[in-house]
Amino acid sequence: PHFIIRVPEKEDALCFNINEEPGVVLNLIRDPSTGISISGQIIGEKKVNVKNQKTYFGRLGIVNTRADLKIEVTTQKITLWKGLDQTNFTWMNTVMVKQEGLSLQINRKKNIVVSIGDGVSFVIILHQVWKNLPYHHDFLGLYTVDSHRMSVQTHGLLGQFFHPIDFEVFDVRPGSDPSKPDATMMVKNHKLTVTRGWQKDYRKDPRHGSEVPCWFIHNNGAGLIDGSHTDYIVSDIF
């Protein structure tokens, strides 16, 4: 899956990929203060043994420990737990669910807007592909809204970027692809070689997406993310 980090202070964006095996679960957001955490499980393409297999998020888990609440979203269904009691929905529903500390809006075959507590919201987008495509299958996208409402202790592959981040780009030079120049980036006291490229933001147009120019950090975001990407591998979606 690819990650896009918007940096409004720089009017720019950073992006990186995490390449891991299908089945791996990554910790995306963890806020010990609000009790909210989000993890995502990776899926691959339909056919295995494909060179440079692309990976996506196929399953997301949202937990709010304070409210004893769990939400599991897959490309098939949405399950909501309050304690041990569960409610199931499919992507065929258009439904608004309201309960103490949670508002969940499922928009049939499009997206889910989850608002927890005092207004932290996440949007999960369903990317549907034609079911007979030989390689690809449906996958999920996660976008955060009002991330400033999360605490300063928030961490995770995405969560660590909810705090302001500073970087500097210099020495822009031609790269191996003439349309994508390379540059040197100083970030978190690391000097990295980055490449100018584009990634897709699917919030407004889930089918085609809109292209976001960004500085691409190679090697699973090494140097940009705290520690190594394998530090974010967790055993379970919850």
Partner: protein, 616 residues
């Protein structure tokens, strides 16, 4: 020698039952063709047992090419013709209640030697979803072997069919081969065509083994919780979400233990209650209130259904004894008070629903015994806060009273038939109401877009059932509208939204050749009439007159034999045209003492008066 298909000079060429179901609305046509092979005039009779929930829409009789149609008229108008028939010493009732689920349509006619006759009866009904399935019930009971016997059912469901089954109580291995059932996508098909030999009750017998119930059950895909269909400016909205957690319930069982419950009735009641206790969930609350001349309670307040409490409850049930008379009022009032107090004192969970299930086998005869006063007391005490379900055990009771009281309090009444399976009937009823998934359900449409909608708010949505709302589009050029269904679940408040693209929906349905064009309009009319008739039971005076007038107008417009209309069938007899009347018997009325027209025809008018089955 005459072939086996000739019995008493009558040969039945064919009987064909064809059912077309489109979006749960069943249109059934029963056609029988027969000929009189005898040298003299003979009576040919035609019997069909149809569901009580069905409305007859048409009947015709064709004798030697001349058709005698049934005409549906206002009951009062028909009654004048009926009175004429009675004055000639003949009863004219064509339909009478038959068993628990059915009513029997019977007509017979004298046919000259060599003459042929064709009977055709059409009836329609909206199949109700019950414990996760729609059920179509056909009673099969031909009196003799038939050259061509056939049942054909075509089902079309725009949501797609998820399961389909058909079975008969008379099925043998041999007959299994001629029963075909298949479904794919939106279409389902059931066919049953036994040959003449396969109909024989034994290899050389001339009697038919086709005698029993033929039941078709199916369900539809439920990827989406709702489905809206539109044809010719009428819409129907089906709503049945799944996978929602069950709302905890607070149940008070108010049980009649008067002397009349002595013996098998009480044994069966206890068995049912013990089974119900086994199915109770730990989140539920319960209590038992027993009434005879006095009222006895198991516990003073509602008790959580913990394993320990359930064990104690079972012991209590096992020791129930019959005694005394019937004090319905005090039993019910005690139960209502208990539920109200539990809610006020927050003893029961905030997100839970309450209900009372009352079982009685008799009429109130001690304490407050005026039914109007009991109704008033109950109505004022419940104040619409929870439903009351009344189970009437047997026939020695005032079922109208029980039904009215239940309907007034958002519940329903059900008769428990005195039979070996009475305990199963009680459990079956409990299973229907045991799993509420949503409470206070309201279906909302944009006000300016639709009109004439059927009931759109329900106190409960139960697992395995379905909410059906139908209506008319006001603006024929409307492109789209939104339907919202709001309800409270066990954990959360839910609003399901259905975006309806009018043109697309209509176009998709019109392309299906299965559909008889106006089925949604007829479904709407059927549902509206049923609900008007139900509402009418609860009101008096001008309001009742208005509801009656509306229901009558629709019954006549859409040719339904309802409790407000009758179908007059003109029959040629001995060169004199005579009339018979088909009426709809009512559940609450005592079983009519009439014999059917067919039986009556060859007898002298008996001394006893005949009773007319009247909707009023």
């Amino acid at each position: 020698s005459l072939p086996d298909t000739v019995l008493n000079g009558i040969e039945v060429y064919s009987t064909k039952i064809s059912c077309k179901v489109t979006s749960r609305f069943a249109h059934n046509v029963v056609v029988t063709r027969a000929v009189n092979r005898a040298d003299t005039a003979k009576e040919i009779s035609f019997d069909v047992e149809l569901p009580k929930t069905a409305f007859i829409t048409s009947f015709t009789m064709t004798i030697d090419g001349v058709t005698y149609p049934g005409n549906i008229k206002e009951k009062e108008v028909a009654k004048k013709q009926y009175d004429k028939a009675v004055s000639q010493g003949k009863t004219a009732g064509l339909v009478k209640a038959s068993g628990r689920k059915l009513e029997k349509f019977t007509v017979s006619v004298n046919v000259a030697a060599g003459s042929k006759v064709t009977f055709e009866l059409i009836y329609e009904e909206l199949l109700k979803r019950h414990l996760g399935k729609y059920e179509m019930f056909l009673k099969i009971q031909p009196k003799q072997l038939i050259n061509h016997f056939e049942i054909e059912a075509d089902i079309f469901e725009p949501q797609g069919i998820s399961s389909l089954d058909a079975e008969a109580t008379f099925m043998t291995n041999d007959l299994l081969g001629v029963l075909t059932k298949s479904f794919s996508g939106k279409k389902g098909h059931v066919s049953f065509k036994p040959t003449l030999d396969q109909q024989r009750s034994c290899s050389n017998c001339t009697t038919s083994l086709l005698n029993g119930d033929f039941t078709i059950t199916y369900d539809v895909n439920r990827e989406s919780p709702a489905n809206v269909q539109i044809v010719n400016g009428y819409f129907v909205h089906f709503f049945a979400p799944k996978d929602l957690p069950v709302v905890p319930k607070n149940v008070v069982f108010v049980i009649d233990v008067s002397g009349s419950m002595y013996g098998r009735k009480l044994v069966q009641t206890k068995e049912a209650l013990l089974k119900i206790l086994e199915d109770m969930k730990e989140e539920d609350y319960l209590n038992f209130i027993l009434f005879s001349s006095d009222v006895t309670v198991w516990k003073d307040t509602l008790i959580k259904a913990t394993p320990e409490n359930l064990k104690e409850a079972k012991d209590f049930v096992k020791n129930i004894q019959d005694q005394g008379m019937t004090n319905i009022n005090d039993g019910l009032m005690r139960g209502i008070k208990m539920l109200n107090e539990a809610r006020e004192a927050n003893v029961i969970p905030k997100r839970s629903t309450s209900l009372i299930i009352m079982l009685t086998d008799g009429e109130a005869n001690v304490g407050e015994s005026r039914v109007e006063k009991i109704q008033e007391n109950v109505r004022n005490a419940i104040e619409g806060k929870f439903p009351l379900y009344n189970l009437g055990f047997g026939y020695n009771l005032n079922y109208d009273f029980l039904e009215k009281m239940a309907l007034e309090n958002h519940g329903l009444a059900r008769r428990i038939y005195e039979d070996s399976d009475a305990d199963l009937q009680m459990q079956g009823f409990y299973d229907e109401v045991a799993n509420p998934l949503l409470v206070d359900v309201e279906v909302q449409y944009p006000e300016n877009a639709i009109a004439d909608i059927t009931q759109n708010n329900y106190q409960h949505f139960y697992d395995g059932s379905e909410i059906v709302v139908a209506g008319r589009l006001v603006d024929q050029d409307l492109n789209s509208f939104t339907a919202d269904v709001k309800g409270q679940g066990a954990l959360n408040d839910l609003t399901f939204t259905e975006e309806v693209d009018v043109k697309e929906t209509e176009k998709a349905l019109k392309e299906q050749k299965y559909i008889f064009g106006d089925f949604i309009e007829r479904l709407w009319a059927y549902l509206t009439i049923q609900q008007l008739l139900e509402k009418r039971k609860n009101v008096q005076g001008e309001e009742k007159e208005n509801l009656t007038a509306q229901a009558l107008e629709l019954s006549l417009k859409y040719h339904f034999v309802t409790p407000l209309t009758s179908m007059v069938v003109t029959k040629p007899e001995d060169n004199i045209e005579q009339e018979a009347v088909a009426d709809k018997p009512l559940e609450g009325k005592p079983e009519p003492i009439t014999s059917s027209y067919a039986t009556q025809y060859h007898h002298q008018p008996p001394a006893k008066p005949y009773y007319y089955v009247d909707g009023d």
